[in-house]
């Protein structure tokens, strides 16, 4: 049986957020919420990451950065947009430099709404992400076998 979903390593990137959502993401790793009990490691390295957690909207400067981080992550991978900004652009949507949510540059799998998104809902999103990660791993394995 595959146990790949028991080891989801997380990469957190802060787009143009107000930092509200970032603080909530960090709160998830504190003793109160402790996401490490699911095997989650907060890594800083896209090459080691399985789940890309993005907060804040996309602007013209960070679009290429987000794209590159996404490309550097090996398959299978899951993208979670945390907070209204990352989902749609949020309150910054009308700003001249904002392109929109994370899905304007990379495919987003899970949207976690909220301004700021609460740690409980972020963990909910991560747990959903872990489920999806397992499915994607199985699909990848099936594809490799077929080749």
């Amino acid at each position: 049986m595959s146990t790949i979903h028991k080891s989801p390593w997380l990469l957190h990137y802060d787009g143009s957020s107000c930092n509200g959502c970032d603080i909530e993401v960090l709160a998830c790793t504190t003793p109160v919420y402790d996401v490490e009990r699911f095997g989650v490691i907060n890594t800083g390295n896209p090459m080691h990451a399985d789940i890309f957690l993005i907060t804040g909207g996309i602007n013209s400067q960070n679009a290429s950065v987000v794209k590159q981080i996404y490309d550097q992550m090996p398959e299978p991978k899951v993208v979670i947009a945390v907070g209204t900004c990352a989902c749609t652009g949020g309150i910054f949507k009308e700003c001249y430099n904002i392109l929109g949510g994370a899905d304007t540059v990379i495919p987003v799998d899970i949207y976690v709404p909220g301004c700021a998104a609460r740690p409980e809902s972020i963990i909910d999103g991560v747990v959903k992400g872990i489920g999806l990660f397992k499915e994607k791993a199985a699909a990848l394995e099936a594809k490799q076998k077929a080749q």
Partner: protein, 291 residues
């Protein structure tokens, strides 16, 4: 030691070391989490992580890197086999430094600024540790009259009685070797930034898995050397060995959780300082006793 026993010990090392050290690592994360007031992951977490890394897609900037990483693992295995089959302790130390060179070659092969930075730091770490590792071998020779692990292990003398300074110095550099805070400079298990991941920053999927595996095999040797201080011809000394290893293991976790990362300059000064003072004094006393 007969050839058969040597082979049995070597095979036991190759098969058991990853399980034992992996499990110790799992308990390490659990105990660390408890120290921080968290629940922590399952004790089998290191095995889940390793398995996942093997299942991930393999991306690499330079194919040669995988070869270097595999060579790193092979040389660590060779060192471990030499040690547990009871061969020369000095050979083990040399073989370990050869292995470390392959890790350095692997991390420099990609030209990533993060791994280059990590490589520089790794070289400094090697410089900090190597003198003490060599001195431990020399210390055992002076106390026991032999470099052979098999003969040291069944000696009537207890290593720690003659080499307490060497033990202190060796435990000090173990923090560097285990990549624990405050000396997790070239790569860390708690890396929230790429630069902290250092030497392993560019290692993807199975490459990183091999490095983790090599680290486990290496840790088994290092714990083995700790054990060597507490073992003698009395079979009951095995209890002392196990207790000593567990104490060192716990001490390292405690240090890891209560200290912040230092700069490499301080690490080098401290490591060499402790080496010179602890091992130097011990060496001096040993010579005095022998007269």
């Amino acid at each position: 030691m007969t050839v058969q026993t040597r082979i049995i010990f070597a095979i036991c090392y190759i098969i058991l070391a990853p399980f034992v050290i992996g499990l110790l690592d799992g308990f390490d994360r659990k105990v660390s989490a408890r120290m921080q007031g968290r629940k922590g992951p399952s004790v089998l977490q290191p095995f889940y992580d390793l398995k996942k890394l093997f299942e991930k897609e393999f991306l690499t900037a330079n194919k040669a890197q995988l070869f270097m990483v595999k060579s790193y693992l092979c040389f660590i295995l060779l060192s471990g086999v030499l040690f547990f089959a009871g061969f020369d302790l000095l050979m083990v130390v040399f073989s370990l430094s050869t292995a470390a060179m392959f890790l350095v070659l692997a991390s420099t092969s990609t030209h990533s600024p993060y791994s280059s930075q990590g490589t520089h730091r790794e070289l400094v770490q090697m410089m900090a540790c190597e003198p003490m590792e060599l001195l431990v071998a020399v210390g055992f020779y002076l106390a026991m009259g032999t470099f052979k692990v098999s003969e040291i292990a069944v000696n009537s003398k207890l290593g720690v009685m003659y080499l307490p300074g060497f033990l202190v110095g060796f435990i000090f550099i173990l923090t560097i070797k285990f990549r624990k805070s405050p000396f997790d400079i070239s790569t860390s298990h708690h890396a929230h930034q790429e630069v902290i991941k250092g030497v392993t920053a560019e290692m993807v999927g199975k490459e990183y898995a091999y490095v983790t595996l090599a680290e486990w095999y290496e840790n088994a040797i290092l714990y083995g050397i700790i054990g060597l201080f507490f073992i003698n011809s009395n079979p009951l000394s095995i209890i002392g060995v196990v207790v000593a290893i567990l104490c060192v293991w716990f001490l390292e976790i405690l240090i890891d959780n209560t200290s912040a990362r230092v700069k490499w300059q301080l690490m080098l000064k401290l490591a060499w300082g402790v080496t010179i003072v602890a091992a130097g004094m011990n060496l001096f006393l040993l010579e005095m006793i022998k007269g």
